[in-house]
Symmetry: C2
Subunit: 416 residues, 2 copies
C-alpha cells in the first residue's frame, strides 16, 4: 500500500518501535510497540487501564494478564501514601509487588494536584468523591487537599491529613523506587475554568519542573526506566505550541499530552494537531486521561500511541457495559429494560458475540441480580467485560491500520 510506510527505526534505547505509519483518510495513524527493560511488550496504539493503588479495581493481577492487558497506569501520589515507595521498592518494585508482567506507567502526582486541588474548588474534571475517615462525602467548593507553589506541590493526605511536599525531584525519586517502566515528569494540570494568564503561568512552571525532572532522572537512572515529558497549555494554541516546542526539544524517551483538553473531541483533535508537528516520530506519545470510545478514535487518528482512563473500569462498577451499538456504545445493566426486554427476564449474555469470560459464563438477568443485591462479584464481572471490549477494540484498530482498512473498520464500527 502506498500510504503505508514500513518503519522499524528505534529510539536510542530501543524502547519504542514504530512498525507502520499510515495516512489513510489523511489521518496520522501509527502502529508500534513499547518494550520495557524486562522485555514485556506493549503493542500500540493501546488503551492503558488505570490501576490507582497498584490494582485495577475489582480485578487481581493474574486476571489482568489473562485479559491480555499489556500496560497499566498506576498513580504515584496514591502509592506514596500507601504503602509508600520504600515498601514497594523493598518488595522488588511494582511488577513484583502486584505480580504483573507488563508495562507499568506511573504518573507524577501532578494530576492529583488538580483533582484534589482546583478541581474541588471548581467542581470540574473527574468525579471528586473523597471520603474522610468518618465516611463523609466531600463535594465541590469544599476543602482543597492540594496547593501549588512555585517549586512544589503541597498535599494534605486524604487518608490521614498528613502534609506531603512533592518537588520535581521527589516525584522522580518516588517513581524510581516504585520501579515503573514509564515515568512522567511533575507537571501542573490546570482546570478548564482557569484563565489564560493562569494557564500560561502554570505551563511555564511545568516547563521548569520538566527540566528539573529530566536532569534529576539522567543523573540517577539505572537505564531501566523511561521518562516522558508532558505538554501542557490548556485549550490555547500559543501555550500548547510553546510547551510542545520546549518539551520536545529535551531528551525525553516519550511525550505525553496532559491538562485540559477542552470540552469535546473536536477540541482534542485541535490540540493534538497543534502539538503533533513538534513531537519526533520515533518517540512514543501518551494522551493523559482519555477516554471515551469517540476520544479513542480521535487519539488514534492523531498519532497517539497510548492513553489511560478510568472510564471502562469506573463504568463497570456502576453497572454500565460497553456494547457494539452506536452512538453511545453503552447499556445500563441496572436499568429495568435491556435490549427492549425486562432485564430480569433477559437470560442471555451482555453481548452474544462477545468472547469475554463474563459473556461466556453469565446472563444479563444474573448480573442485574448481583448488582441489585450488592454483590461485589458483579463489579468484577463487568470490569472484565468492559476491559475486554476496549482491548478488542484497540486490537481491531491496530489490525485495520496494518491492513490499510482503518476507514472501513471505523465505518463499520460506527455503522455509518
Amino acid at each position: 500500500m502506498k500510504n503505508c510506510i514500513e518503519n522499524t527505526k528505534k529510539t536510542d534505547k530501543s524502547f519504542f518501535q514504530l512498525i507502520r505509519k499510515s495516512d489513510e483518510g489523511n489521518f496520522n495513524l501509527r502502529v508500534g510497540k513499547i518494550i520495557n527493560s524486562k522485555g514485556y511488550e506493549l503493542p500500540t496504539p493501546s488503551f492503558i487501564p488505570v490501576a490507582t493503588n497498584a490494582s485495577i479495581r475489582a480485578l487481581d493481577s493474574k486476571k489482568i494478564i489473562e485479559l491480555g492487558i499489556k500496560g497499566i497506569f498506576v498513580n504515584t501520589y496514591h502509592m506514596h501514601l500507601a504503602p509508600g515507595e520504600d515498601y514497594v521498592e523493598e518488595a522488588g518494585g511494582l511488577h513484583k509487588f502486584m505480580n504483573y508482567q507488563g508495562v507499568i506507567f506511573t504518573d507524577s502526582g501532578g494530576f492529583q494536584a488538580f483533582s484534589l486541588g482546583q478541581a474541588i474548588v471548581d467542581g470540574v474534571g473527574k468525579i471528586v468523591s473523597i471520603f474522610s475517615k468518618e465516611g463523609k462525602r466531600r463535594n465541590k467548593n469544599e476543602e482543597k487537599f492540594a496547593e501549588i507553589k512555585e517549586d512544589k506541590i503541597i498535599f494534605k493526605s486524604h487518608l490521614d491529613g498528613k502534609i506531603i511536599e512533592l518537588t520535581p525531584e521527589k516525584s522522580i525519586m518516588i517513581q524510581q523506587k516504585l520501579g515503573s517502566d514509564i515515568l512522567m515528569v511533575l507537571d501542573e494540570c490546570t482546570s478548564p475554568l482557569s484563565s489564560y494568564e493562569y494557564t500560561k503561568k502554570a505551563m511555564e512552571r511545568s516547563k521548569k519542573w520538566a527540566k528539573i525532572c529530566l536532569e534529576y532522572f539522567k543523573q540517577t537512572t539505572k537505564g531501566d526506566q523511561f521518562l516522558y515529558g508532558i505538554i501542557q497549555g490548556g485549550y490555547h494554541y500559543d501555550l500548547r505550541k510553546d510547551s510542545a516546542e520546549f518539551i520536545c526539544s529535551l531528551d525525553f524517551d516519550g511525550i505525553a499530552i496532559g491538562g485540559s483538553l477542552g470540552t469535546s473531541k473536536e477540541n482534542i483533535k485541535e490540540i493534538l494537531s497543534w502539538v503533533l508537528p513538534y513531537i519526533p516520530e520515533n518517540k512514543p506519545r501518551h494522551l493523559l486521561g482519555i477516554g471515551s470510545i469517540q476520544e479513542i478514535f480521535t487519539a488514534v487518528e492523531n498519532g497517539m500511541d497510548t492513553f489511560d482512563c478510568v472510564i471502562p473500569t469506573r463504568y463497570a462498577r456502576t453497572g454500565t457495559v460497553f456494547v457494539k451499538t452506536p452512538p453511545s456504545f453503552v447499556k445500563d445493566i441496572t436499568a429495568k429494560y435491556y435490549n427492549g426486554y425486562e432485564t430480569k427476564r433477559y437470560h442471555k449474555p451482555v453481548d452474544e458475540n462477545c468472547n469475554c469470560y463474563t459473556c461466556q459464563n453469565y446472563t444479563v438477568s444474573y448480573l442485574h441480580h448481583l448488582f441489585y443485591v450488592g454483590e461485589i462479584s458483579a463489579m468484577t464481572l463487568l470490569t472484565i467485560h468492559n476491559l475486554n471490549f476496549y482491548n478488542n477494540l484497540l486490537a481491531d484498530i491496530r489490525k485495520s491500520i496494518i491492513e490499510g482498512r482503518y476507514l472501513e473498520f471505523k465505518k463499520n464500527f460506527f455503522q455509518i
Copy 2:
C-alpha cells in the same frame, strides 16, 4: 481395618451413598457422597459455603467450580425477595441462573425468621447488620423484620418493607421453583435466650410444619429434588429427643439439625449425641450454621455429612485468613504484624505451603495494602484462600477416615 465397614447401601433414590463408616476413637465417622439428579457429586463430609444471593460473596460461579467446591448453600428468603423464584425458574433454575455445576442446598426461610426477628430483639446469633434504603445500620433492640404465627412467618422485607407471608407450603413451592437439589422444611429457629417453654412450643410448631412440608413436597415433586427434615429443640435433651424421634419417623431424604446448638463445641457434641440414635444410617445429615474449625471436627466426629456456615467467607472479607496454626487457626492480614514481622514488609504468601491461587500469586504485604486502600479484589483473594483452606481440610479428613488414620491426622492438625 476392623473398625471400618464398607457400606455402599443407597437410599431409595440413590441420592446418598455411604462409602465407609469408622468408629476410630469411638467416634461416629463416615465418608459418603451425595449425588443430585443432574449427576453432580458431593463427597461427604463436606463444608458447604453460603451463597446467600445465589453467589458466594466476592466470587463468581466459575471460581467456585475451580476451587473444587461441590456444594453451596443458597438462602430461600433472599432469593424470594430478589430476583424472585419465578425469574429463577424462568432462567432454568439456580444451577443455570448462576452457572454452577454442583449440589445446591436451599434453606426454608426459617432461619431468617430468627435472624430478622428474635435475634434482633435479643441481640444474639449472627451479626445483624441490615442496611435500610437510607444506609442506616440497624442494631439490636431495633425493629423486628419477622414475626412467627402458628401457621406461618410474616416478614417485612429488609429491602423495600413489603410484607411477605411464608407458609410451609409456600417455602417448599419457592424452593421447587428455585430448582435447588436439597430443600429444607420450614422450621422455627429459636434464640439461645428463649425459655424452655418457648423452645418447646416452637419445636412442636416446627414438627407440624415439617409434616405439612413433606406432604406438599410428595404431592408436587418431579423426583429431581430431595427434602430434609429439621430437628429442633434447642439445648434441651427431651425436646431434641422428641423432635428427632418425630422427624426421623417421616420419609425425608435427609435430616438436618438446626436451631440453637448451645454455646460451645461441648454443647454441640452433646446435642448431636442426643439425636444421632434416631437418624437412619442411610440418610445424609446436615448440621445447620456450623462452623469454626473446632466445630467441624466435632460435626465430623458425630456423624454429620455436611454443614454450612459463613465463617470462611465472612472472615475473608474483613481480612482474617485461615492458617495451619493452632489454636486459633487464623491471622489478621490488616494487623500491623504478621508472623512477627511488620505486615507491610512480609513479602511472602499468607502460607508458604498453601496451594491456593492467592498464595501462589500474591504476598501478605500486597494483600495488606489492598485491604488498607479498600480494594475489593482483596476480599476476593482472601475468600479464595479461606475456602481453599476449608476444602483441603475436609478432603484431608475424608482421606484420613478412609485410610483409618483420622486420630493421627487430627493430632497432627492440632499439633497436640
